[in-house]
Symmetry: C2
């Protein structure tokens, strides 16, 4: 399609905002066409009000209609994959195969949520039947289920131009539940965002749904995004990005007249623990695995392993040396944006300036190199800087000699998305105390794998204790992500005709329901 | 038992706080013995740290152990009902039968959560099996379930000295999930709280669990409660009380270094809509029902109907007159505390001073009377005061003549816990638009019943959009209340031996699990 540089406000293309901006080509820093017009406060208001009206209809659509919408979007994304990937390659410098995979991941995600809402058990439908002769008082008939919470604001992420952006997991799960979505597109890939927004807008139109179900705004600063979160029509926020950005949105969401939930995923160091068995059996392939994981996507994943704990013993020498060798050869990474590249370089310089003992292995090119820092447990405790994320292809190797000190270091960890253990089953048995500590620190524990590569499935948890996310009770990946955007609603003594289908006696949707405390798909018999 | 006036800090009786205070006898205002010692900051810290240590053990206990603890507490409460009720009657002036019922409700609630955690489907256990030959990449084995979030701070409520206090629904659901609890006892019933806290403390000891599983602090001001919410060891807060109190705790919870969820239930006006069919068939018994509901427990329920919408037509005359007659005769209520009685009187005076058209029917006694205010839709829109809760036996009758205006008034409602419709099934069919509006405003819709009398069951939702509660996504009554205090945790590629029982192949707990997207109790076969 021919890119226009305009926002999408409830199906209309709008241009009444501020100074235009252009996305840089990530590889060359030259500016790409067209110019994009930042949205106006009027756009925010119009999109939000349209979402409110649309919600009254969309929030009550049958699951099958919403599933059809999600599949329609998925099919159109797949059909336009080449066009999307071409623009995304220019805007992000991510490789073609990765972006093709990301389109497939995004359409797969939409189809997963379609299947989830059709299956129906996610609704948590519950029925407690009346007991008219109960003493001292009769029990009324009580039924409840999850319902959509209301219009959701979604912030596109820099590092996933598709899977965590306009039609990503946040949008897919919010729409699946029946909530209109207003996306604030990420500045770094406005063109990719425009194509995807056009796909969604067309799908909404073709499905005969109200246009207010979807809008997308541009913002080359912070005002539009902040105003969106402040708008009374917005009922929840989903954001993937920096700690600073997430904190700012959390504060706005909590201090509104009516506070709303704000789901921010804000980065993580994803500690890896290399256990003795891993060093004894195959240290070189473990080093390769870690190198591959911390440099994947130029280290621009929130699940990048940013700390690797390894015993300070002879057995670790081969592992260490291999990691140094790989890192020293690891140049030529292109970052998502010039800003991210700058921040990465500054991060490396700050860390190098600590003068910590250990080796800094760095490749020749100053801007796009992999970097390996080495430190002791004592360094880690002393220097807060070592506990901060560097977004990019670097990691920190932390040596330990005293196991008690290692446990204390684990205990001192902040919240992270993941923790990884590399070793044998015997290592696991011997490290139950370490695992118990890590269970309190993260959303996902990995054994003999790497934290990057987040599976989109029912059981996935991509979340974790603060500051990894704003709220450890939710995941932004996997089918549980839909639970962020719903609330329970209860009907007491309601006539059948006025009940949602999911709660009617005959169970017309054939879904699992908790009837008097027992999960069943049976219809209710009088 | 002989009351001591001391706090419970992880099993120890502590006295190192501030100036002692005595609870007033609610009926006579004379001060009851013994004097209670407000807790100290040292107590907060000690209780919180003990909870942290206890959590590592308690959070990993089998569900059967926690169910046994809950049942032990329930049995002891029942056994000591007479003693508890005697003290509670003096402290709250609530009638004996109500308090006996409340003890039974409280022990019933504990047993409900015991059954819930034994049944196990609440864990939301999920397994996505590995697909080693998937292309382009193998799928790892991913499993997840809900786990306890960490120590919970519970604030006792003034109006339910048992069911929403020390061993109430918040404590029961937090313990059921595996979280230690620290209660801040309500000032109005310290003696009742002490007996119940002794019951829980004994049960924890007898079960051989760490003493830090339970503590209870006293506070005759706000400092201790606030410090508790600020303490880094606390992971969630549950509060039932005033809007001002709830807002203060929400702000502390959101602005901590690590923000935590804060579940506040802060009052509600629970609008009732009397529909034409109800007036045609049996207006007098509807009026009796509403009178009974708004004066139940001296109107000190968060589900008290505080607004009653009724058509301004001849057909409503009998209804209106009956409500006025009942109200005029309705004196002799004793409020929970002298402070609540004062606030009620002030509330009535402020409302009367509005000079709204309509009738103020009020009984003779100035302090303990029922009150009925009457207003138009226009009054309701003009006077914000009419949209504020008066805690006590009063309600507001709102007449409407224009149905469009009624719909607009419904649309303008804030969030409430409940909305009630009185009428025929034909009324329901004719008011689908009104119902659709109310569905967005409340957590529970009631047909031909009254909002007071909240059933403790699986399907109950005692919650609703802000400002009724801090977070519409949760309920504080019913088995779903346990979901406030958990988070999901995921294990990727973990050896069987290191998995929680709920996630092991053989399904040793025999619980429902979502396996590759399908709910089943089957074991996994290799």
């Amino acid at each position: 399609m021919r890119l226009s540089g305009l926002s999408f406000v409830a199906g209309k293309r709008i241009s009444r905002g501020s100074t235009p901006f252009r996305a840089p080509d990530a590889a060359t820093s030259s500016l790409l066409e067209p110019a994009y017009i930042g949205s106006s406060l009027e756009d925010v208001n119009e999109a939000a009000n349209a979402a409110t009206s649309a919600f009254l209809i969309f929030g009550n659509t049958p699951a099958s209609d919403r599933a059809a919408l999600l599949r329609r979007i998925a099919a159109a994304l797949d059909a336009r994959s080449a066009e999307i990937v071409a623009r995304a390659m220019a805007e992000t410098a991510l490789p073609q195969a990765r972006l093709e995979g990301e389109v497939a991941r995004t359409s797969g995600q939409l189809r997963l949520f379609a299947a989830v809402i059709e299956e129906g058990s996610w609704l948590d439908a519950r029925i407690d039947r009346a007991i008219p002769d109960r003493k001292p008082l009769p029990r009324p008939d009580i039924r409840s289920m999850l319902v959509p919470i209301g219009p959701v604001a979604v912030f596109g992420a820099s590092n996933f131009p598709l899977a965590f952006s306009v039609a990503g997991g946040d949008t897919a799960s919010a729409l699946a539940a029946g909530n209109p979505v207003i996306v604030k597109a990420h500045l770094a890939h406005p063109g990719t965002s425009e194509i995807v927004a056009a796909v969604i807008t067309d799908a909404v139109t073709q499905a005969g749904l109200p246009a207010g179900v979807f809008s997308m705004l541009y913002d080359d600063g912070f005002v539009i995004g902040q105003e969106l979160v402040r708008h009374p029509a917005i009922h929840a926020v989903a954001f993937t990005g920096s700690h600073r950005g997430g904190k700012a949105l959390m504060a706005i969401a909590a201090n509104r007249e009516r506070p709303i939930p704000c789901f921010c995923e804000m980065g993580s160091l994803n500690p890896v623990f290399v256990l003795p068995g891993a060093l004894a059996s195959d240290p070189v392939s473990r080093a390769k695995g870690i190198y591959g994981s911390f440099t994947l996507g130029a280290g621009q994943f929130c699940t990048k392993p940013g700390m690797v704990f390894v015993p300070d013993a002879v057995c670790a020498d081969l592992f260490r040396q291999e990691l140094r060798n790989l890192t020293a050869a690891g140049s030529g990474f292109t970052m998502l944006t010039p800003g991210i590249a700058d921040a990465y370089r500054v991060g490396l310089e700050k860390r190098a300036s600590l003068g910590i003992s250990g080796t800094l292995a760095e490749s020749s090119s100053p801007q796009t190199c992999a970097a390996l820092f080495e430190a002791s447990l004592e360094n880690l405790e002393t220097h807060a800087l070592l506990r901060e994320e560097i977004f990019g292809p670097s990691t920190l190797l932390i040596s330990w000699s005293n196991r008690e000190a290692l446990l204390r270091a684990a205990q001192a960890l902040d919240g992270h998305l993941t923790a990884t253990l590399l070793g044998t089953e015997a290592d696991v048995a011997e490290n139950q105390d370490l695992i118990a500590v890590l269970e309190q620190k993260v959303g996902r524990l990995i054994f003999n794998g790497y934290p990057t590569g987040v599976e989109v499935s029912h059981a996935m948890v991509h979340g974790g204790p603060y500051p990894a996310t704003s709220d450890s009770r939710y995941t932004s990946v996997g089918s549980r992500a839909i639970l962020r955007f719903v609330r329970p609603r209860c009907y007491q003594n309601f006539p059948q005709i006025a009940l949602p289908e999911a709660l009617r006696d005959e169970n017309p949707l054939g879904i699992f329901r908790l009837v008097d405390g027992v999960l069943t798909r049976d219809a209710l018999t009088p």
